[in-house]
Symmetry: C2
Subunit: 108 residues, 2 copies
DNA sequence: CACTTGCGCAACCAAATAGTTGCACGTATA
DNA sequence: TATACGTGCAACTATTTGGTTGCGCAAGTG
């Protein structure tokens, strides 16, 4: 539970993905979040902890309540990787394009 | 090892993400893939198995070799979720916008 | 036909994960 | 001040993970 976490591991769990979507709409207290799920308060609390550890969530103490809100910028890491993936893929098709062009010119 | 897998779990592991990027460039045999890592052939083989289970990879038998290649469309699921996330976020800002507008008009 | 090569698969293992229960400790409220 | 809330945190458990070793088997090669 205290290993090096990253965003990818964070979103691996469906409950955590749901929490992220929930907090994308508005900040919430742990109890408020937990109400949206069937799991116990503590189970949700653990997920929140995981998300906080990898800085997807930030706390804000308000009296005895703690409001968790999203650090949306962290999600860029996922997008960045996805972009990298798409670039490689595109490059592959470019190369395929080259090959096809070459075949065509050889045909002449 | 045989639970219901999804793309998000698949990309949670850094080695698997690397394999995906590798195969984005070109299809490969398990041995060829393994050569790019320090892990053993079997360890990589397991990762390949995971990726195949959630249909990110597809096999193609060629003689005694098996070529694994990407089913790039599976990656859309990630993008789809990310899109959903961004939409919720945008909506939130729209609402914030509304609030600001309202404040402005009340000021008048 | 022996022999090597490429691979999957089963059995094991240590570590991590998701969840549970129970408690501690400030912050509000009667 | 006594009590009820909101929450974190520690301990314990079952399950899953990522990895290792070793085997088997089909496809090629001498």
């Amino acid at each position: 539970m205290e290993t090096r976490r990253d965003v990818f591991q964070a979103i691996a769990d469906p409950t955590r993905r749901a929490i992220i979507l929930l907090l994308a709409v508005s900040a919430m207290t742990p109890n408020a979040i937990a109400e949206h799920f069937n799991s116990s308060r503590q189970a949700i609390s653990k997920h929140i902890q995981v998300l906080t550890e990898c800085e997807i969530l930030k706390q804000e103490q308000k009296g005895r309540e703690i409001h968790y809100h999203l650090n949306a910028s962290k999600m860029n890491e996922i997008e960045k990787w996805l972009e990298q993936f798409k670039q490689l893929l595109a490059k592959r098709f470019d190369q395929l394009d080259d090959v096809l062009k070459q075949l065509k010119s050889e045909k002449k």
